[in-house]
């Protein structure tokens, strides 16, 4: 089965961890993850500036290595990211901000990517919505 996975919560929320574990299990079971899409506060799950206490599980770091290891298509919504200060270098420069906190393997793009993923996938699974 082909899954699109949408994440609406930050890395410190239980639903971000559940999304990660779901995606890991899907791949381990031989399914495909067509795209990960980070929206609303989910954009924080992709921030490279999260510092997790050493005795806690670092979900943000695990997201990054999971995406890298499986070379997944992982998109952060640009409008949601700008609103919440999750910027890549291009956007930081464009908006005159002093720092970027988003880099590869994440892509910054628009909501069209969520719709495209939903069209490609058999199932759209959302984590962290209301």
């Amino acid at each position: 089965m082909k899954f699109a996975i949408a994440v609406f919560s930050p890395a410190h929320a239980p639903s971000s961890r559940r999304a990660l574990r779901f995606a890991e299990a899907a791949i381990q079971s031989g399914h495909q993850v067509a795209r990960l899409f980070f929206y609303q506060d989910g954009v924080h799950s992709a921030s490279s500036n999260i510092v997790t206490p050493q005795d806690e599980v670092d979900i943000a770091a695990q997201w990054r290595s999971f995406v890298e290891q499986h070379q997944l298509d992982a998109v952060v919504c640009i409008a949601a990211g700008l609103r919440r200060g999750v910027l890549n270098q291009d956007e930081a420069t464009r908006h005159g901000r002093p720092a970027a906190n988003l880099s590869a393997p994440w892509d910054l793009s628009g909501l069209g990517q969520l719709h495209e993923a939903a069209q490609l996938a058999d199932r759209l699974i959302c984590f962290g919505g209301d």
């Binding site: 949408a6 609406f8 929206y39 609303q40 409008a79 949601a80 609103r83 628009g110 909501l111 069209g112 969520l114 719709h115 939903a118 069209q119 199932r123 759209l124 959302c126 919505g129 209301d130």
Partner: protein
């Protein structure tokens, strides 16, 4: 045939970016000519109330953006009758042409769509 998506909007218009971000998903889908529906549920029905003055809360008016839904081809618009009644909103005085559904009709509506996104 493209897959359909129902966006369920459950937050009041002035409680943070959720209502606007749910609407943006619907508008983006409409822009791509996809089959998109929108259901206003729970506090989400407050988005349909008229005569709101968001400037008093230092907020931008969401109402103008909601009016764009039909222009973007998103005319599958629904509201939950129970949610409206619980909040004292009359079905006849809403700012969008929504179909008001009872609980049984809601279940069947949700079953008709390929994908659901709840915000």
């Amino acid at each position: 045939m493209s897959k359909s998506m129902l966006i369920i909007s459950r937050r009041s218009p002035w409680s943070g970016p959720s209502a606007r971000e749910a609407l943006d998903i619907a508008l983006a889908g409409g822009a791509f000519d996809l089959q998109v529906g929108m259901l206003f549920l729970d506090d989400g029905v407050l988005q349909l109330a008229g005569d709101q003055r968001p400037a008093l809360l230092e907020q931008k008016n969401l109402g103008a953006n909601l009016q764009a839904l039909p222009l973007f081809g998103v005319d599958a618009l629904f509201a939950c009758a129970t949610s409206l009644a619980q909040r004292g909103l009359s079905e006849t005085n809403l700012t969008l042409p929504v179909e008001v559904l009872d609980d049984a009709a809601l279940r069947s509506l949700i079953g008709r769509f390929d994908h659901l996104v709840t915000l």
